[in-house]
């Protein structure tokens, strides 16, 4: 009989770095993998890991079939290895389904990205727009976010001062996270004086270029305790796609995130996520996104992101104690870092950032221009 529950047994993170010039991503993954093997002692093949779900991107790796370059180091010889070609959090959603289906009972997830390798992230995300019109207008994920930030700040009353406050807080927590990239504590004045990248997004409002790698071991309920004493259960996962063309969307509506949240909560049997969750990790590539996504996740009312910050919402709901994406993860595996932090919190392994007795965590990620696609993962101890 197939299993009823899936556990994250262990996570391993490579420290995020601005420019890991001395390592190929293969080297980074190998370090992460050995960490994970050290924690769990897992093996490959018969009665071991039966499938690997990798997470990476052809554009960022500048390789057709980016997983081909890492199949050997992550252990894919004579094994199934499939690449999640979306943001990495979806690899957990997929791996969860693989185990629930009964097809395999042990899944290894390995994500990597070296954003420092390419000349410009914006040149890559410009290629995410249609070649006929969108690209020609010069759109990329940064200025798409700029458009959304303009609209959202108007709707929610979020201010430049509050954006600075979000960044200051992110850095304070990142300083306690040994895996974070930007750990330097910055005063609000410095944030507000940082150059404007794309009005209203300032340089310090934007996640820094990062190189990173993450690994997770997932197992069926029946097998989880072979690998850990602290299994963390996946109780709900969902994602949702919004429309592509900005003219088809209300950029401030959180349409996709609300729907993904509702589905994840339904699967987890949770009525009110803000009551249930002890920890929230959201993928905030830009400072304005933290309150906006928290709004989408239901932690405050529609258009109340400004008030959420003013009333200390991030502290109250323990949002992004890892420092969040603002402290620097590669965009396409940021959700895996969010899930890794959430897992550590539920396992009691979050060090200086530990929330006492955390029982339930939500990890979020987004993908596509201006949050076109959202994924929500609910974990329980």
């Amino acid at each position: 009989m197939a299993t009823k529950r899936v556990a994250i047994c262990a996570v391993a993170q490579h420290k995020n770095e601005p420019d890991l010039w001395y390592k190929r991503f293969q080297n980074m993954l190998l370090d992460v993998l050995e960490d994970l093997q050290g924690q769990t002692g897992f093996k490959y093949g018969e009665n071991g890991v039966g499938i690997i779900v990798s997470a990476s991107d052809d554009f960022f790796d500048a390789r057709t079939i980016s997983n081909n370059g890492v199949t050997d180091v992550i252990g894919g010889q004579y094994l199934a290895e499939e690449k999640m070609a979306q943001e990495g959090l979806n690899a957990i959603g997929y791996a969860n389904a693989i185990i629930l289906s009964g097809h395999k009972d042990l899944v290894l997830i390995m994500g990597h990205c070296k954003e420092s390798q390419g000349e410009s992230r914006n040149m890559i995300t410009n290629c995410g727009f249609d070649p006929f019109y969108g690209r020609a207008t010069g759109l990329d994920y940064l200025n798409a976010a700029g458009l959304q930030a303009q609209a959202y700040m108007r709707k929610s009353g979020l201010t430049d001062d509050q954006l600075a406050e979000i960044v200051v807080r992110s850095r304070q927590w990142a300083a306690r996270n040994p895996y974070a990239n930007a750990q330097e504590v910055v005063p609000a004045g410095k944030v507000k004086a940082s150059p404007m990248l794309c009005d209203p997004i300032r340089q310090l409002h934007a996640y820094p270029v990062s190189d990173g790698a993450v690994g997770l071991l997932l197992a069926s309920e029946e097998r989880a305790r072979e690998f850990t004493d602290n299994p963390v259960w996946i109780t709900g996962f969902a994602n949702c796609m919004d429309a592509f063309f900005f003219g088809d969307r209300d950029l401030t509506s959180n349409f996709a995130l609300k729907k993904a949240t509702a589905n994840a909560c339904r699967r987890a049997g949770i009525q009110d996520l803000k009551k249930a969750a002890d920890v929230a990790e959201v993928m905030d590539c830009y400072a304005y996104q933290q309150p906006m996504w928290m709004e989408g996740l239901g932690f405050c009312g529609d258009g109340e992101g400004g008030r959420f910050i003013a009333e200390g919402g991030p502290g109250k709901y323990r949002v992004n104690l890892s420092g969040g994406t603002l402290a620097g993860n590669p965009m396409i595996i940021s959700g895996l870092y969010r899930a890794a932090e959430a897992t550590l919190q539920l396992q009691g392994g979050a060090g200086d950032r530990q929330v006492p007795d955390a029982k339930c965590a939500v990890a979020h990620s987004t993908n596509g221009p201006a949050g076109q696609f959202h994924s929500v993962l609910i974990l329980e101890a």
Binding site: K23, R24, N27, L30, A62, V73, G75, Q77, F132
Partner: protein, 389 residues
């Protein structure tokens, strides 16, 4: 049959059933007689009833008609039909007469028939015709600096032999095949015409052996760009479909990491280094971070070669663009798999073989590397492997 304005009276009547609009003729019950005098004329009778139209030629008397149209000559009839001659003018000049209700005819007929138009002329397209006008399609701007002589050997009906010379920004055609052609293309004349008019796919014709190319394949492929596309005079004008051409390029800076770093450092000293699997002891070349079979990290290195023998090879004739430079690689070239001295039997090393040695390359050939004068730690430190037996 006499032709005016590019068509004949018979054509107008012959196309009537096709032009008839049954849905617009509900309740119409008429018989119309036509009497057209002069050369190319004749008598026709149109019957419209029960939403059907019947047209017939009539010898002698037209018989009872709802209305009859009489034209003095074919030119008038065709001109009026095509609206090249005003109907009122023709009527007032007496070149045309209507017996019956003129107004009824003038409103009814356009309603139940699609307007007659002159069919496009079919021009006979021949290989010779296409080639003889090739100069008109030549694009000196695209062929600047190009000197190229190529020939067509077209067999079968309408065939012939032709040499096209592109030089000094001009294009000339002559009959016969010169001896110094860069490339010769042999096919049936009908295949050539089909390819030019788009009814035959050139690549498929080539693949299936309908087109034979002797000489420089790349030159053959390049010929198309020196000319405007041939326009089939018989083709219906298609909606023009645009395509957007764009080269996307993002600069990269690849890390070599500790293992590949060691390999490149070895090249600087003209050494071919392999990493060794601590479990199965195989020698991995290029050195790998791990042994993929035993899944353990490799730490130890050994020097292999420099000599070895070829286990397998690709002798490449297909000119593909080098993805690093965009330049088209010079063909033929060979990438050979080489068992280097000191290597375990599992792993071979791949490299290019010296161009001059290609004719004697075979499985089992003994080879050794030729190094660049000053190795810098890059792919080009090895110029090639040469054959030594």
């Amino acid at each position: 049959m006499a032709e005016f304005f590019g068509t004949t009276v018979a054509d107008i009547f012959n196309t009537m059933p096709k032009r008839f609009k049954p849905e617009a003729s509900k309740g119409v019950d008429v018989v119309i007689g036509y009497d057209c005098g002069g050369e190319g004329g004749g008598k026709w009778k149109l019957t419209v009833k029960d939403q059907a139209a019947r047209i017939e030629t009539v010898e002698g008397d037209l018989g009872p008609c709802t209305a009859t149209i009489i034209a003095s000559d074919a030119e008038t009839f065709i001109g009026v039909t095509l609206q090249k001659i005003g109907a009122i003018d023709a009527l007032s000049q007496g070149k045309m007469k209507v017996i019956g209700d003129t107004r009824m005819l003038m409103t009814l007929l356009p309603q139940i028939f699609v307007q007659y138009t002159v069919p496009a002329k079919k021009t006979e397209v021949t290989a010779r015709g296409i080639l003889s006008a090739i100069g008109e399609r030549f694009r000196p701007d695209k062929a600047a600096g190009v000197t190229l002589k190529y020939g067509y050997d077209l067999t079968g009906e309408g065939g012939g032999q032709f040499t096209i010379t592109i030089a000094n920004g001009t294009c000339t055609l002559k009959e016969g095949l010169d001896a110094d052609l860069a490339v010769k293309m042999t096919m049936e004349a009908a295949t050539y015409v089909g390819m030019m008019t788009g009814t035959i796919d050139g690549a498929a014709a080539f693949t299936s052996g309908k087109v034979r190319i002797d000489g420089d394949m790349m030159a053959a492929a390049a010929t198309g760009k020196y000319f405007d596309k041939y326009v089939d005079p018989n083709a219906e004008e298609a909606e023009e479909l645009l395509s957007l051409k764009k080269i996307t390029s993002i600069n990269q800076r690849f890390a070599t990491g500790p293992v590949m770093g060691k390999w490149f450092a070895g090249l600087r000293e003209k050494k071919l280094l392999a990493s060794v699997c601590p479990v199965c002891r195989r020698t991995l070349i290029l050195p790998q971070e791990i042994c993929q079979f035993c899944h353990v990290r490799t730490k130890e290195y050994v020097e292999l070669g420099p000599e070895g023998y070829v286990t397998n090879f690709d002798l490449v004739y297909f000119a593909s663009p080098d993805p690093l430079s965009g330049e088209v690689r010079d063909t033929p070239y060979a990438c050979a798999w080489i068992m280097l001295e000191g290597a375990t039997p599992e792993d071979a090393f791949a490299f290019e073989i010296k161009k001059e040695d290609l004719p004697k390359l075979k499985i089992g050939s003994r080879v050794r590397p030729t190094w660049a004068e000053k190795p810098t730690g890059s792919f080009r430190d090895i110029l090639y492997f040469e054959i030594i037996d």
